[in-house]
Subunit: 383 residues, 2 copies
């Protein structure tokens, strides 16, 4: 059964004076109030969230949200796949509709993080990784530093190419009113910012963020009855890679990206050349290169050239992270994959405002851990 997205919304991302419950309700309410349905129509509610227990001492947030949004007795469940929880939520929402379990499914992803100190938040996030690696001090940022050094040296890529990713995504974020940072930066600013995990510097990293995003799914048939502005999830796939990162054959190949995008392309009957726009998981700038290569847009070791020559700019051949990406939009773990879906939806239905590009086919790639689990979603504009 074809699965469609008929509405999407997100909160302002950033440092928010609100708890997770409030953030989830804000995105969920906006999504429902803009949709051509009654709240009673929602049969399943999925909440993408990694760590409400660890961040806030509250679990059961999905039951709470179902209650707050007036959706009872709708089914409610929390989906966790660490930093790809949002993408996993899209997959669950898709399965709920495609299986016939639900005819109308609301997905809300969110995380509340900024009330923790950076070391506290880092510790919670690092619980994703294998403890044998973590006890040696290897956090996600340090994996990124090690991988970036390897990539730059092996493929003779200039350090500037990583800075270009940050500059591009910050420029896109200026036009996204919901982005955490609406601030242009220069290549020099990025290259001269403080070292965090050599060779990566401050502007190679996404921030810690509070925020929430929502999408509403139904069957393609029902969508066509309800609205003209809908998108279809034409391909989706998910995959897991080794939990111990150092066991991977090649540190520059994200196996989960390759496998999940292969599944999504096959299901959609499309390939990388068909893409008009994509949101990639730029938690660290180097990841944008690895994903461009993993989804088949560039050959191994060549994605950096796309950043250098403007191919991935908003007015380039394949605009990447028109939303601002995790880099400037922010990265509230459970929300990020959903917010990727929100951006692709808005691009496909023509609601992206000053960020609008011409797009009939869009892809979102959401990465958990350091590629430990990945979801790739392909969406197309309704015919």
């Amino acid at each position: 059964m074809g699965v469609a997205v008929i509405e999407a919304s997100m909160t302002k991302f950033g440092q928010r004076d609100a708890w997770l419950r409030d953030l989830l309700a804000e995105a969920g309410e906006e999504c429902l109030s803009d949709a051509p349905i009654d709240n009673d129509d929602v049969e399943h509610l999925y909440v993408s969230n990694m760590s409400s227990g660890e961040f806030e001492g509250q679990t059961g947030v999905m039951n709470w949200l179902a209650h707050d949004l007036g959706l009872l007795p709708a089914y409610s469940e929390r989906v966790d796949q660490t930093s790809s929880s949002g993408g996993a939520g899209i997959y669950e929402a898709w399965q709920s509709i495609a299986s016939g379990a639900s005819e109308m499914t609301l997905l809300v992803g969110g995380e509340k993080m900024t009330h923790k100190t950076t070391p506290e938040a880092t510790d919670i996030i690092a619980s994703i990784t294998h403890p044998d690696e973590y006890k040696h001090g290897v956090t996600l940022p340090s994996f990124a530093g090690l991988t970036a050094r390897h990539y730059l040296e092996r493929f003779d890529a200039p350090r500037e190419s990583l800075a270009k990713v940050a500059v591009k995504n910050h420029r896109n974020g200026v036009d996204n009113p919901n982005a955490q940072f609406q601030k242009e930066i220069t290549t020099e600013t990025a290259l001269e910012s403080p070292i965090v995990a050599d060779p990566l510097r401050l502007y190679d990293f996404c921030p810690i963020t509070d925020g929430s995003a929502a999408m509403l799914f139904t069957t393609e048939e029902r969508a066509a009855e309800l609205t003209d502005d809908y998108a279809v999830v034409s391909g989706i796939g998910g995959a897991t890679d080794t939990h111990v990162v150092h066991e991977r054959d090649d540190p520059t190949v994200m196996g989960g990206v390759v496998e999940s995008s292969d599944q999504a392309y096959e299901m959609a009957g499309l390939g990388p050349d068909d893409l008009d726009v994509a949101e990639l998981h730029d938690m660290f700038t180097i990841l944008e290169f690895l994903q461009l290569e993993g989804i088949g847009v560039a050959e191994q070791g060549e994605a950096w050239e796309l950043a250098m020559d403007g191919y991935t700019d908003r007015d380039g051949e394949l605009p990447i992270n028109t939303s601002g990406g995790l880099k400037s939009k922010g990265h509230p773990l459970g929300a990020s994959g959903v917010a990727q879906g929100v951006e692709i939806y808005e691009q496909l239905v023509g609601e992206a405002g000053p960020r609008q590009v011409e797009a009939d086919v869009g892809l979102a790639c959401n990465v958990g851990g350091f590629g430990n689990c990945v979801i790739t979603t392909i969406m197309e504009a309704a015919e």
Copy 2:
């Protein structure tokens, strides 16, 4: 598409000298090694778990398990619905097969709890409930005490009827080698045990438990090719009730049980009279009555009579909790709903050993929070 269960297993429940990772792998490995498939055949892995982050400081356990079981690059995801996470995992596994997203799905539920002190574990579990109720001291056991007093007085039920539930489930547990307590008790023992939440006493409560359970799902068509010993998930439903317990109209009606079982019966084309065996979520003895009424086996206020007259005994009209239930088998949160499914599967395929009853249709009801979310599953023996 019809969804079948072709194998099931569980670890010994109790105080285990192992971490969650080890427990999940133990049940998963046993399930896979007994199944007529290769590990490579598994396309999706769901891990039902409420709080590995809070109990162990580890998240990402589903990626880890996919790695440990040699399932890469299978999709892996954690499903959380508090104490009904196991039932939610069954629902997700069902959706993954019914939607065509996966042709072979492994579900493993587990929790590691006993390394925490009882107050610490209670605090983690209470994070399920609404903080406005919890700050007034209302934990799940106290909800049970309040509800039990109301039930006994309103329906003129004898205190002994609750003790009978404990006695029955302990007797069943004696024949389950994986139960935490393989120990018969008398009505007097139950009635004279220490008060925990008046009128409920120690033997009205399930223990804190470590353990894991697994089920393997595929299409009905593929199941028939692979084995004669399979069961079919013919009905399943899930529902949410108010997150604030005191907002419910009638404290003796679990709305989520009523709604989810209605959905499951409708899908299966069956009713309460068709059941041959059932596993109910007896976290507290009083819950067995509320669920017997919620699933339509008894009228409101009359389930206590079924306990008194042996109707729900193993040799009675409708055996309830032949596994020993949460009461004697134990309640490792994320595992419990899966372990209910394991018992129903074993009863339907004739692998329940000394606990075996005659059964072609079985039901499992898994309750999260204090009925905040509920999953009901109906399984039938293959034709």
